[in-house]
Symmetry: C2
Subunit: 364 residues, 2 copies
Amino acid sequence: MPKKLEVLYENKPCYNIIIENNFEKLVENIIEISPNTDRKVCIFTDDLVGSHYEKEVRERLREKFNLVITYTIPNGENSKTLSNVEKLYEELIKNHFDRRDLLIALGGGVVGDMTGFAAATYLRGIDFIQVPTSLLSQVDSSIGGKTGVDYLQYKNMVGAFYMPKLVYINTATLNTLSDAQLASGMGEVVKHGLIRNEAYYAWMETHSAGVLARDPQVMEELIYESCKIKKAVVEEDPKEQGIRAYLNFGHTLGHAIERLSNFQLFHGQCVSLGMACASYISWKRGYISEADYTHVLAVLETFHLPTKLSLPIAPQDVVSVSKSDKKMVGKRVKFVLLHGIGNAAIDMDVSDEEMLEALATLSE
Amino acid sequence: MPKKLEVLYENKPCYNIIIENNFEKLVENIIEISPNTDRKVCIFTDDLVGSHYEKEVRERLREKFNLVITYTIPNGENSKTLSNVEKLYEELIKNHFDRRDLLIALGGGVVGDMTGFAAATYLRGIDFIQVPTSLLSQVDSSIGGKTGVDYLQYKNMVGAFYMPKLVYINTATLNTLSDAQLASGMGEVVKHGLIRNEAYYAWMETHSAGVLARDPQVMEELIYESCKIKKAVVEEDPKEQGIRAYLNFGHTLGHAIERLSNFQLFHGQCVSLGMACASYISWKRGYISEADYTHVLAVLETFHLPTKLSLPIAPQDVVSVSKSDKKMVGKRVKFVLLHGIGNAAIDMDVSDEEMLEALATLSE
């Protein structure tokens, strides 16, 4: 059963999330946004995702659109640079793309964030569409209009809030994900349950076998419910001035670990470690029970997410790096803790000692 | 008499334009937006403007704000590059600027556009304030949220729509402008009258002696009325989907001349030449009278704006370059013509022959 969600922006309908198990309806959904088939289309993808899906997507688009080009970058976080966005600008200029034309992000979070940023800034803004192909991007990064690139060693340092015109999820693309990438996506899925919806958190544990086997029905339901949570949060707080920060649960220490690992660990794996720490602090402060805490660890492990750090990273370094993170407000770290399962809250007074104690559990 | 205008964005109050004849009220107007004096402030300026005003502005800010830094670029259009914006990012990172901090554009259009783009994209958006110091930026580029940089040989190819929190105009800064820069600003002022307000157009001609002598009262009135026109247009059409395009009167051919002159001519001078051509086409099509047309030329000349091209640029090249301009829609040039003085309209069917005939008048 195809599913559809409408995302509002400032209380007005802004774009749809379509969940299908193939690419058949992609073109008709694009034409529904604008019937103009004279517009030029540029598919932005990476070499890995492109090798699986670019040809089919391009051929489907070419049935309706006159000019469809593809720009491909190497797979991976190292490609997420301003200079790669500049190369895309040059490709668009060379092909005379103007304000009416269209970019399509075919790939995971890196491709989606970069395409969105290029769309936000080329000629002060052109349309773009998200076609997320990883679990992580399907449930998280493709929704909500956060776009950007890394700068120096900082993640998403340069970016913009800029909404897509459509998010088209083909769940069949999950079949080409590695187990590690699937697990990485599950990091954000578990997070959604923990911060916002206890019933969903319970449901995913019950359906863990189906998730791990990538059962199409289970995955569709999993993605749909996760998109609903993400949609609700970004609708309420599109510019991250309040509750959208809940989505950073596990990210304060997780991002620092990710940087210190030199991106050897997947994002979701780092978020898992960060969630383990944040849950530990939540337990130690008496916001959740010990049973809740150990259950969080068990659920993470069920989905093959780490709760122990496999790399030699010093806790003190993690704390230092997290304090240089852009989510700092003044000199204080913005921490998200659990006040019960399914219920997040922001805390500005988590001490270095609490962080160090929590980080120590990762190597016990 | 200080003057104030409130600019709406999507029908909600967004920022004020303050017109003063000194910098005394700058800090109190900033604090009115946010009482947080803990925020870090970065003044972005160029070496020429900075030599006149940076010290005073910095010292005034330092009375209230703890950390005030200045980042200076060389004066001129050649500085308007992405790599200079990157250098600003690095300065902000080095000084630990976060989402609550503030950029101030102290300078003309180049500085304002770049500061706005940096503010739009640093950490997905931080606050910025326009302190325009040229007539051109005071009446035009500081208002309406168009930000950007040039890319390759294209003006404003990379940019964003991003609103300032305040536009603070100190009319005394006009005293350090060269005559050519003052004339350049008058290009946009005359344009405002021509596209939107015949009475203002008549008023500026009556007060031309005061304008040329930079009489403070006359300049304040001139700027205020021009800001009112710009404000009204951008409020009605913030993203240039309709009538905001009227502001491109004189710009289709003007931009092409500007590029072909390698920026030896000032922007307003090129717009003047473009307006002369567009007025000529408007006359030839019977939209304005011959008397109106020759009067437009006389008014431009009154303000020391060119109606003849002083450089050896071939009309055919101007047409070719204007057709590669990003304001193209599909393959047609979007031209703004006058349907009477004070009344602009968009025309999509101006022919190459009409353009060539109009351009020929520039070298007669």
